[in-house]
Structure formats: structure tokens, C-alpha cells
Symmetry: D3
Subunit: 244 residues, 6 copies
């Protein structure tokens, strides 16, 4: 585990309580809560995880790629460039979010950087571009959300520009320090300022849906049950009390 | 199992004989038979099943989504709206076909409605939009053909409009009551009026291809064998007789 | 195994040594070596294998499809047409590369032709169109890289035109006889004239990356290690010597 | 001019006052007013007018096309089908809105139907598909908003299904009777229930922007001026009074 | 004018009679006649002419571009390569048809080659890629159908491969010697073997439509008139006789 | 004209000599020179000018838009935000380059900001998004390169983030201060460090092509002439001397 200062900003504290709430609810439930607060654009469409069975929660450490321009390669791609800064700086409770303009036709990271991120204790990686060395990366114990597999390197289409700036990832805006959550459905951003209330509301919603689903599985109609009507509320409260 | 009247029209009877024929042949073989009858546009391109090992056969119960318009949300999305009507009305031998303009960026159903459909005995679901709660839905024993996974709800892009009208699903026209078939390759529509002859011809074709494949596996050339030439027909007939 | 003359040209000899090198390195490593030699466009983007655990290496036997035109169907699709020539002519150390203009909405081969290719000892198949009978094809022991699954036949969109001509496959140019390699990441072309040096350099690179990855897994930084600096070279050479 | 009953519903009256307001403001200004009321999806993206110098205002008479299916052609494309109903029924103050799933690769109307619509006094036509006989249609004095030019007929991709139902046109929902407006920028829908207040507010906004633009042209900064600050309001009111 | 042998094959003779028929009818009418003969894929979608007022008729001289591969540039792009062969070989009654895989992001010809084609008397050019030097080319008196304008050269994406082979242009198959026609709507192919009967039938259809359009402009309904019913035929025949 | 300090950086001086060279050559010629120096990605594909007859030359003043996120609207879109900073800061010899992720479905500027830019003496504007108030903007004497026309405002899809940072515009990287050039073909970037030599080489190339074009127009072959062979060089030099 790395012992350095956190690289991504911490606009809110990701307490164990919030983390355990986020780990216990689905991205679908979190999405519902964001939409209820007027946020429409939060889900990284078209990305899939290498580790669907793993949950991912952390602060966004962002990395912005820009289109390749050969004359700038020496300036932007050499030395301790932005890509290297990100992978050498990331730590626990951080998710690297790469904005690569949703291009499917070049890798944006491979097995060595993925291993380094895991070794530094990173919570996960989201790229809206491709993964490289995908078969090897599948075996590394860190969840990576990516668009596709492509053997070609970064340099076919991209230059690393900067870290810890706002990025567009799968056409979703991510601010450094925002909360990133992932499950087998995909990954999404929760604006930092909303995470506490959204996690709380999602936990409550998930409980209701567990109750509802049980009734539906028992053969009931969705009418009056989903969403839960005032008439059925006492029954739910009783179920909740008994469940403990 | 639901005991109500069937919701989808029954322009033809889906007899046990036809059902068992359809369950025994591949969508590829059915596609060949439709193309031989001049039908070109029948396969729901780009959709994949949650349960590739399950076969799906049933009459189309259609559900038409239209683009979200905020002023119409109270009128179209509230109460016993078209989406709810479909999921509360569907029954055995029926496949829900959702026309959602092939949009990948919003869920069109989730685990609660999927459970309700299974509970009512529905044969399956086809949506040309996204699935929501995909990890939970994967565990429900009903085949669902969908474009992608997206945590966002319907309301990001869609309003439910009406059921049992013609719909475009993955740019394929489906009439209420048409026959929908699915296997691990994907799902497709068979026009109701053609289902009897197509099922019959497909069963015959499948038998021939079993014979042919056996010969190819034994090392023979495809020439004269695939398609079956007049010279090889007696051999096939003999094989068929012996096979019983 | 077929005993006929090879159908694809052999601009270079694919020796056992080169084959074993190519089988031991990833497409990502080969991609790096091609890019280092100024080649940018070599990876068949968007295609996935039926057999991700199998490696594929062979000379390209090309097959060019052109858009369907009904008046030319009798002339181009009948008899011993180009598709049949390819599948009846292919043999060991050959990979069939089908250029189908990246169209996802029609099958380009199915289980019978796939079986015939395997039976003739072909090393694999790459198509930038769809696969048909996909569930059955998955069970055949030959790797097939394809864009998607579609039950419809060739004739919805394509006519077979000719074999052993240059083709564009997933917008990558393949010359007859070029070397095609595939792993779980995807498939790519290596220009015939470059294969010997690329295979050699890739084997060396793979060894270095194995060393580097071991160090990264042990918790080291990528700085000075990846890529390998002059300072670390002796350590690598020692590791290589001990490894034997 | 036709003397029949109006074909499209009239959920609101399109008074001369409202019409003159709508004719005097740009679609950009109307767009601003809809967005201010929470409507986000109203502009027919990607369509261009045959007559950019003409304004278009009228009630939506809708026509829904569905994907071609050869077996349904006799039933849906023959006789007094939905396309013919629309063109023979349309009249003054009506705009035909064709929902053709945004397909660029088949004509959806040509010079004869365009002439018929003009002859019946229609206010205009919007299709999210292609125009046919485009050179001839350019010469007909009726504004037609369309995606592209294509010589092929409807039957390549479409069947006419029904009129006066909700349609998706360029992924925008149009209800029969809604108000359609077009200028050289493009065309858009105004929900019928909002048209009176939107027209009023747009007229006021256009006046302010005329004042603002005059100041900007005179070299002023946009700060405090656009949008108009409280400080500048008296100046605007004076300008308005003098302008008369 | 060039005096060399024609470069494109002449599977049929393009007589003055056929040429004058093709020049007098629209591509929309020709499209109708091809569709009536079962041809569905003939129009070069998405291409626009530099000279919309000019008609274009000629035999297809084809030129096939393949994706750039840097190692093959010396072999395919140098000397008297396929592009140069085409522009130095084309002559009167010939239309150069370039198949460039519909790529919008690189020029496929510029002002110098366009001038050379005009100087050799070529009837026109169709490219499914971009035009370069577009402002200068607009001033050259030869119709060029193209997808877009792009300042970059061929070498960004393409290599010239060969002439006088079948090509896919805008996903339409063109055989060398086929007849290419263009007007302000766009350009299309007529299979050589069909040109005589299609031209004849189109001329007849155009005459009928002129009669019909006159009646529609006079205020008549399309019913019974378009298409022309048996009842109206004598009236048309009288009009035709009087028209002379 | 504004008298403030230039807002965009000036990594090189855009002398009158360089400006007159850039104004005298086509973007196609400049493109050739960039490609000759290994730059591949410089042309803003898919954008068209409001004023094709005007040339545009200036330093890039960049403006970066990010995807709309409703919770950040108060923070990023209010007050003297990045969009306003750009339009109130731009001046002579500067071209505003807006990176809007190539989205066609929302306006990125309208007539008021366009007027303000012209009033401040800006050389032009490039946006890879849409223009708003397009009919009014067409009348303003400043060249604007844009993707399409859309009546909706910025807020449908975008938030203004920052100025004078590297931006991706039509997937081309632009650094603040780079040189932007536009003609009727489109617009492109010239890396600041290359502008002097590229302008010089382009002027020479343009002269040669004028000579070549004259010979081609006179009926000569392109062979040996285009590109100019050593044999023809003296003739060109003579022509150049006589031309003066």
C-alpha cells in the first residue's frame, strides 16, 4: 500500500458508513436517486468491467488525453508525463478516470500500468477508450471499466495532457474528487456534494425494493406496490422491523 | 401462472407442434426460410440474450416508447401507463417487444418488471433499448434480449405510449401477435401468417443440415453436398429413414 | 488434413521458430513492434474471437465481398463461387480473412463452412461482418474473429467476388500471404516482409516485460523500469541469465 | 384551397395574433423559451429547408412510417394508404410531420405529393427521412424540411402506417395538433398547450435582443447587457417607447 | 479531347438515343425503374455534385482505394499508380467511380486531377470520399459527386490499388462499364445490361408524370391519377398526341 | 477595434509577410506541407464556413466546453464565465476555437456573441458544435466554421469550463496561440512552431501548382509534370522568371 498523500482532492469525506452504503446498493438505485435530484448525465454508457463481481467505490483522480499531434509528442508524451503521474500518484479510495474522447481504436492502458495501480491500492480505473493486453489485465485484481479491447498503444490516437482537471468520460463530466461507483452494470459518477444524501436515500430505496421484489416474486401485481403506495407502507414497515 | 385472457392478439394458433418445431431449429435456419419467401428484415440486430441457453417462442405483445417530452410526462408516464399495462397484462406464450428507437442510453425495464413478467408466465422480452439492474435481471429465469446495460431509468429518454400497436424494434417491424423466436444467436420475428409453413420447412432444412454437417465433419467437400444435390438426395433419404 | 497445394501465397516462410515466437507473445506486444516500425493500421478493431483461449497464426487467404446487387446474384453467388473456393481451398497455416465492409447486419459464414475450414486444417477465420449459427459455431474447434451474431445469410447485403486479392478488413489492408495473428484481445495483420524481425523483437520485448511486471508486482515504481532504463539493464540481464 | 374540415386536431386555436408573433421571431428565440419551461427536446436536428427564405407555421398533421416488411406491403402500401390520406387530407394551417426513423437512404415524398400538398394550401412539410425529386421540389412554393436527397422510393425502407398519431421525428415527439414552426435555421415543435405563452414571451425577448444587438453593434460589452441587467432596463424601456 | 482507345469496358453501346433519354429523365425516375426490376441498391447516398445544373452520363471507369499501410506506400502509391492510370486513361463517355470506403476524412482528388479529367473529355467523377481543393474544383466544368471537403491528401487514409475492377462506392456495387447517371439529386448506377430498357421505360414514365403533375397543379386529387388509372389513360393518350 | 492586450498567447509572431502568404495559399496546400512534416491530424473535418469567400488567419484563443451537469450549472455557467471571458477578451489576429466534443445537437454561440466578436476585431470563430441564430449570423461579417445549425442553447449539452487551454476541436488538438487558417474548403490548425516554414513552403508549392495547372489546362499529361520532374524544372523556372 502507498503511504503518500492522496493525489485526488477530497471535497467530501468518504466515510466507512457511506462506503458501506454505496457498496450495498446497485448503480441502478443510485441512478434513480440522482435523477430524482435533477441530474441526468452520470452513467458511463458503453463501458464494461473486467471484474463484474467486484464493487468499485472511490474519489475520481482524473487524467485527460487529447488527440495525437506528432509535433507535440516529445513535449507531452515523454518523461514523467501526465499518464505516469496518474499511475504513480493514485492511492487507496481513488478511482482513475481517463477521458479519451470515447475512441475505441487505441489502447489507453495495459497490464503494467494496471498492475502498478493495483499495487498502489487504487480502487479501480474507468477509461472511455480501449484496454490493451486485455487477457492479461483480466487476471489482475482491480476493476477496470473500458469500452473495448485494442492492441495498439496510446500513441495511435492520444497524448496524455494533464491530471486532476475536469474530464469528459463517455460524455459525462467528472470533477476531480467526485465519487465514482461501479458494479456489474457499469460505472457512474456521483457529484461529491450529493454523495451523503444520495447514499442514504439509496440505502432506503434498496430496502423498499427488496420488500417489493419479494411480493412480486410471490405473485403480486406491481400496482400499488411499485412504487410503494401509502396503503402498503405499514406492511413494509412491519417487514422492515421484523427483518431487523 | 396468470389466468386472464391473453393480451396479445392471436392471428394464428401457436400449436404445440409448431412450438416444438420452432424450439428445435436455430434462428439461422428460420432466417433462411424467411429470406426464401422474400422477407429481408426480421432479425433484431445488435441485441443479446440474458439467458443464451434458453429458447424463446411466443406471440408479440408490443409496447411503443416515444421520445421524452417533459410537458407530456404527467399524461403518459403516470398511473396505469402503457408500460405497466404491458407488464400486468402479459401472459404465457407471449413475448413483450419494446420499440425504444434503438437508444442505448437509458434503461427500458429493470428487475421488478422482469420479475413480474416471469411471474405472469411470459415467454420472454425483447427491447431494442437498454436493460437496467442487469446483474439482478441475469438471475431471473426469463430470457431478455437487449442492446446494452444502463443504470438510468426510462425517463432519461422515453415515455411509454401504447401497447398492441405495430412497433419498430431494432428497425424491424413487429405486428401484435406475430411470432417471436430467440436463441443464443439473437431474436427475430416470424410474420404470423407464415409461421406454419416456415416452421415446417425449417424442421426439414435442419434435418438436412444435420446430415450434411455429419458428412462435412467426416471430411467431405461442400460441393454437391451443401446445398444438397439431386445425386446425394437418396443417401440423405436413407440416413433419414435409418435415423427414424 | 488437406494435402493440396497451399492456396494463399507464401511471400515468406512461416518457420516453426517464427510460429513459436508468435504464439508466445501477445498481440499487444506485436502491435508495439509494428508501431515502432511506422505501421499504424494493423488491428482488426471491434472483432472478438469464438475461442479466446486459442492462439491463431497463419498466412492470409483473402476473400472479398461486395455489396449485393440483385442482377449480379446469378453471376457471382452461384456454383463454385469465391466463397466456396476459399473454404474448399484453405489449408493448414492459413487464416481466411473476409472483407465484408464491416457490416454488422448479415451473416458471412455459418457452421457448415466453419466445419469445412476446420476439417481442412485451417488455422482460423477473420471476418469483419457477422457470424451465423453462432451458438453452433462456438462449439467448433477453430478460432473465428467476427463483429457480431446475425441469423441472416450473406445475400442480405453481400455477394462473394474474389479470393487472393488485397482486402480491407475492419478498415485494415490485408495482402494475400500476410501473417495474421490472434489472441483473446483480438486479431491483427503483420506485413509478410516484417514478420521475421517483428517476431524476434516481440519475443525480446515480452521477456523484458515479464521481468518488469515481476518488479511492478513486487511494489516498484514504473519510473526507470518501464520502459527499462540503462541503469536497470544489468539487473534484467542477470534475471534473464538465471531464468535460462 | 381546400374547403374540407381540417384533418389535424386543433387542441388550441392558432389565432392571427399568435401566427404573426411566431412569424416574427426566430426558432432560436422560441427554443430559448421552451428550454426556460423545462422542455429540452423540440428541435428537428439535422433537417434543412428547401425554402430557407420562407417561414412555416401550422398544426402538426402526423404520418408514421414503419420499417418495410415485404409480406405487409399489399396491406399497408396499397390503395388509399396512410401516405395518401395525409397528402389528400392536409389543408391550410397544417404542417405534415413524417416520422421515418431518421433514415437517410430512401425518399419519403417527391414532386407530385409536394405539389398536391401545396395545392391543398398546406403550410409546410417536415420529414426526418429523405426527399425525392429534390431538384423539382426545390421549385415548388412550399417549405419542406428534410434530411437529405435520395432518388429511391419509400419502398426501399418504409411502409406508411397511420396518420394523426404521436410520432418521433428526428427523435423529437410530436403530438397531432402541436404547433410546428420553421425558419432558415430549421424546424421545431411547440407543445400546443404552451404556444400562447411561448409566442408572447418570445416576442418580448426578440424585442430585447434587438435592443441589445444594437448596443453590441455600437461596440458595447455584453456584460450587464446580455442578458439585460436591472440597471439597463430603463434604457431599454425608453428605446421601446421611442421605437413605438 | 483524347483520341486513345476507351479505357472502361463497353458491355453495351451508349447510343445517342439512350444518352438523350437518360439526359431527359431524373435520377428519381430511373430509380423507380430499377426498383421495379428488383434492384434495391443503386443510389450513391450522401454524395453531392459540384455542378448541380449539369447532367452526367457515362460508362463507369472504376478506381479502388484500400486503407493506407505505410509499408506498402512505395509499392502502391509511387510512379504510374492506379490513380494516375485512371486520370490519364479516362476519356469521353466515361465517369470515374472511386471506391474509397465512404471515408470523409481525406481528399481523394484535387484540382489538378480534376482538370486533367476534364481535359481528357471525361463525363464526370464520383467519389465516396472527400474532395480536395474544393473551392478551385467548383470552378472546373466537370460534375464531381463527393461526400465532403477535406484539405488532407489521399495518403492520410488511402492507397490507390487498381482500376477496372468491381468497386463498392457509397456501399453500392459498380462493375466496370456500368452506366453512371447524375443530376442535382445525386448520382446512381444502372447495370449495363438493363440500361436500354430502363432508359426507354423512364422516358415513358417521365411523360406520364409530366401529364400528372399538370393535373395536380391544376388542383386535382392524386387518387386515380397517380399512379395513372385505366380510366385516366385515354385522357393521357390524348394529351400526349396533342403535345406531339 | 479593441485596444486591450491580446488574450491568446503569441508563441510566434504572425508577421504581415506570413499573413499574406497564408492568405494567398489554399488550406489544401498547407495541408500538404503539414503532412510532409509528419503531421496527420490538423483539419477540422465536417465544419463549414458562414463566409466561404472570406479568408481567416489568426492565433487560436481556445474555449473548452464540458458536458452539462445540472449541479454544476450555477458554478460554471453564471457570471463572467469562460464563454463570456472568451468573447469579451478576443481581439484582432485571434480566432476563437471552441471544443464542444463535436456534438451537433446544441448551439454553441449565436448572433449576439458573434456580433461582439466581430466588434472586437476577431479574425474568426471555429466551433465543432452547432451555430444558433444561423440565419442572422450569416449576415455578420466574420467567418464562422461550424458543424450544423441548431436553435437550442448551450445548456442542452454543454457547460463552459475554461479558456486558453489545449482543446480537441473536431478531434484535432489545438494549443493556445497556434495558427488557425480557413478558406472555403474548411479550417485547420498550423502548429505555431511550424508556421513560418510551412507558409514559405506553401507559397512556393502554390506557385508550382499554378504553373502545372496551366500546362494541364493546355492539355498536357500529369506524368512528369505533377509532381514536377527534374526535366520540367527549367521550364518552370523560366515561367516563374517571366511571371515576375
Amino acid at each position: 500500500m502507498a503511504t503518500t498523500e492522496p493525489m485526488a482532492p477530497r471535497p467530501v469525506e468518504l466515510t466507512d458508513h457511506i462506503k458501506s452504503q454505496l457498496n450495498a446498493v446497485s448503480t441502478a438505485t443510485l441512478a434513480y436517486q440522482l435523477q430524482a435530484r435533477g441530474i441526468r448525465n452520470f452513467f458511463f454508457s458503453g463501458l464494461k468491467p473486467t471484474r463484474p463481481q467486484r464493487r468499485m467505490v472511490g474519489h475520481a483522480l482524473t487524467l485527460r488525453f487529447v488527440p495525437m499531434r506528432e509535433d507535440l509528442k516529445p513535449q507531452l508524451a515523454a518523461g514523467f508525463n501526465a499518464q505516469r503521474q496518474a499511475f504513480e500518484g493514485i492511492g487507496p479510495d481513488e478511482v482513475l478516470v481517463i477521458g479519451a474522447r470515447s475512441q475505441p481504436d487505441a489502447g489507453t492502458l495495459g497490464d503494467i500500468f494496471a498492475t502498478r495501480a493495483r499495487s498502489r491500492g487504487a480502487a479501480g480505473i474507468v477509461t472511455d477508450g480501449s484496454l490493451r493486453d486485455t487477457p492479461a489485465v483480466q487476471a489482475i485484481d482491480i476493476p477496470i471499466y473500458h469500452r473495448s479491447a485494442h492492441a495498439g498503444t496510446l500513441g495511435l490516437l492520444h497524448l496524455p495532457l494533464e491530471t486532476n482537471v475536469p474530464v469528459a468520460c463517455s460524455e459525462v463530466l467528472v470533477m476531480p474528487g467526485d465519487i465514482i461507483v461501479g458494479d456489474a452494470e457499469g460505472a457512474m459518477v456521483i457529484p461529491a456534494a450529493l454523495v451523503e444524501e444520495v447514499a442514504e436515500a439509496a440505502a432506503e430505496q434498496e430496502l423498499r425494493e427488496e420488500f417489493i421484489l419479494g411480493r412480486i416474486e410471490a405473485g403480486e401485481s406491481t400496482t400499488g406496490l411499485y412504487p410503494l403506495s401509502a396503503e402498503r407502507l405499514p406492511e413494509f414497515e412491519k417487514w422492515r422491523a421484523e427483518r431487523g
